[in-house]
Amino acid sequence: MKRLLTGLIAGVSIMLTASISNATPPDDTFVVGLPTDTIGLEPAQISSRHTANILKHIFGTLFFISESGTLDPNLADSYSVSDDGKEYTFTLRKGLTCHDGEPLTAEDVAYTFNRVVDPDLAFVGNSAGFVFPSIDFKEARADSELDVTIVMGAPNHIALGLISEVYVHCKDSYEKMSKEEAALNPIGSGAYEFVKWDKGSQIVLKKSPGSAVSANFENLIWRVIPEASTRTAELIAQNVDMITNASPDQVDAIDASSTAKVQKVSGTRRMYVGFHQGEKYANTEGGRAIQKSEVRRAIQYSVDVEAICANLLNAPCERATGIVNPNNAHPTLEPYPYKPEVAEYLLDQAGYPRDANGVRFEITLEAGHGRYLNDKNVVLAICQYLDDVGIKTKCDIMDWSSVYVPKIRTKDAGPMFFLGSGGGTWNPLYDMTDLATVESGPNYTEWTNPEWFNGWKVINNSMDPYVIRREIDRMLEVFYNEGPWLLLYFQPDFYGVSNRVNWQERRDEEVDIYNATLK
């Protein structure tokens, strides 16, 4: 028994001296707490914002989308567009190097773009699945050591921004690696070099001495902490400097601590309730009703969006006046106010008076659970607001990934459905491309209004920014008056930030650590 006790005491002593249990990062290190790990470090296979945020510190892009939405030079310092609008030629800065020590030239850029569409590699991430089809990518070619040309099938007003989403990597290293090796060994030219990836735990980066992008911290660590309350605890203990996706119900706890605070920002994700306009629900009572634009407009007045934001999201929200983010939105349209009496009047006028039971018509609102901020309660609140104006609404909340996503993607959700769509700050057309054509994938409402869709012909056939902007505003007015969305809010994002550092959040869910500093 004595030997057992002695051994136990010795063991405990060793363990307690083995490590300080809660350790603030050193002054040269910035630690970010993430809710999920990345699935790989392949720059051509990015499919989540978290992965993109990590890789943007390892890789550079030709241009850089700033927080205010401007497109600033990054690896390239200038570009030109061919007369037919189909070729973008970028001139790289001189003296760029890859993390493997090789110079980064136009050949690496051309290799990057052509590699994305290599059928043997069969990438399905953001570049291959969205960017390249959007710009109708044909090929990339190196015209000289510093000049690279991206060739598209047709002119595209948002090509520069889309091209700026492609992470440039280094031909010499990537040609030698298999696809599996490339997913584990990223070699770029960004501010940070890859050090190691402890799967499920952390990704460690260190500052690259030869990078064209400056950064203040020597080391950057991305720690995977899936549970929100654990992330909060690590932040309050100052073991991490910043956490993404801070839970709204923990905002007060973080702010009450003396070691951290929450930085809230109105994001670019457009939250809306879609009105299905297709055949599928046209013969149902509610589906028939929302085919009328007067009914859709009435519903805009029936939901108190400000109250939803204040009480369920624990943050004031930026209201939506349309499909476009506020900095690029229509200059004069105002968000629909909460006026249930106006909603009731408009519904009466639209031919839907209350019956003896006080019901105008019945409808179902479908939603997925667990994807967006407090989504279940937001949807329940919307259902209640609709009930209050006589629209008897059945809330059908289902599992997000296994049930709701397939319904949405096959355009079967409805007659009303709750959804969010990511947006951007750099061009209104980027947000509007959700409804670029009637057949567009994200046109989940199957809206076909010709006043909207014919506007694209004007935009695509013009190079005059004034004409384009005028047409955008006209289309946004159509969307405001007759659109297929109940306009809600831009989802706020919550970042927990340690009092140890200064860090500036962005609206577009991108995370930049370059300019973070110690206080």
């Binding site: 363990m15 809660n22 999920t36 499920g200 549970e227 654990t230 990934s401 567009s440």
Partner: protein, 325 residues
């Protein structure tokens, strides 16, 4: 013994295939998972191409048959989410779960012994009442709540133990780096304390009650009275004569405990950011990563069956009256 093991083999194979069939059906209930593997702006043609590439265009019975035929060849398929071999993903996560489960098992088994013995030899006294009240509490408290509370009070408020994270011990050893594994061992143990306790507390409580009642029964036996009458010390009576028989029931349920703990570690691994197989399976289910879930289920089933087999063999060794038949 070898005959016994060989006789268990057919039922092991049956169990594994039964488990894969149930898992396959359960995962298919949610419908076509193709949409989770394409971007939201993918065209209909891309969706169709992805569905064909992932094999979801085939009839369900064909999909299952292909899976079984590959399983026979020890081909567990590729993870749809990680886009690499499912077995690679599992083998990367498994050592962390083994660390957590073994540490938890040690707490649950070896912690229960003194717990139960003290309660038994102080039967009716306040120590017994207190220990059994704690045991009842342990069987009532959910492990996720215990985990979060322990973080709040033991890590955040008084900074005794780390909040979350993992320092690998087994993985470096398996990769051939013995020195690094040994160097990491004390820190690994530090990080293991809270999550292991959260996993093990329920089992420890149950085992303690089992040891207590078993010990009470044993201590009332004639041979124990004889041992005392011979003048043996109380320590010898309890530890050498009583304990050997009292903890047979505990050994019996170790196999069941292991399976129970493997299910319990899922939530605890998420709370403590422990990069183990439980968390991997949890994410795989959420992402409808069917090959990874199925491969994980096979691996976990094999582990549970193996532990149960070892338990049976140990039991036979401990109790000569038991024959492996």
């Amino acid at each position: 013994m070898l005959t016994y093991i060989l006789r268990r083999l057919p039922q092991t194979i049956l169990v594994i295939f039964g488990v894969t069939l149930i898992t396959f059906i359960a995962l298919q209930i949610g419908g076509d998972p193709t949409y989770l593997f394409v971007s939201e702006r993918a065209s209909p043609e891309e969706i169709i191409a992805t569905r064909i590439k992932l094999g979801f265009d085939k009839p369900l019975h064909v999909q299952y048959l292909n899976y079984v035929l590959n399983l026979i060849k020890f081909d567990f398929g590729d993870s749809l989410y990680f886009r690499q071999s499912a077995m690679t993903v599992i083998l990367e996560a498994l050592p962390a779960t083994i660390e957590l489960t073994l540490f938890s098992m040690c707490i649950a088994v070896f912690g229960a012994i003194p717990f139960g013995i003290f309660a038994a030899i102080n039967r009716g006294k306040w120590i017994d009442g207190t220990l059994m009240a704690i045991a009842m509490l342990g069987q009532s408290i959910p492990n996720f709540w215990l985990g979060i509370m322990s973080i709040l009070y033991l890590s955040l408020n008084i900074s005794w133990l780390p909040i979350s994270g993992h320092v690998p011990f087994l993985m470096p050893i398996l990769q051939g780096n013995l020195l690094e594994g040994i160097k990491n061992f004390p820190t690994t143990c530090l990080y293991l304390i809270l999550p292991s306790f959260a996993v093990a507390f329920y089992s420890l409580s149950r085992n303690a009650r089992l040891v207590r009642s078993s010990m009470l029964e044993v201590l009332s036996q004639d041979y124990v009275r004889t041992a005392r009458a011979k003048g043996l010390s109380e320590y010898s009576v309890i530890m050498k004569h009583g304990m050997r028989n009292a903890w047979l029931p505990v050994v019996t349920i170790i196999g069941l405990e292991f399976g129970f703990m493997l299910s319990g570690v899922v939530v605890v691994e998420v709370i403590f950011a422990w990069p183990g197989l439980g968390r991997t399976v949890f994410n795989a289910i959420a992402h409808r990563d069917i090959p990874l879930v199925q491969a994980s289920v096979v691996v976990i089933s094999i582990l549970v069956i193996l532990i149960n087999l070892i338990t049976d063999l140990i039991y036979a060794k401990l109790d000569p009256r038991i024959r492996l038949s």
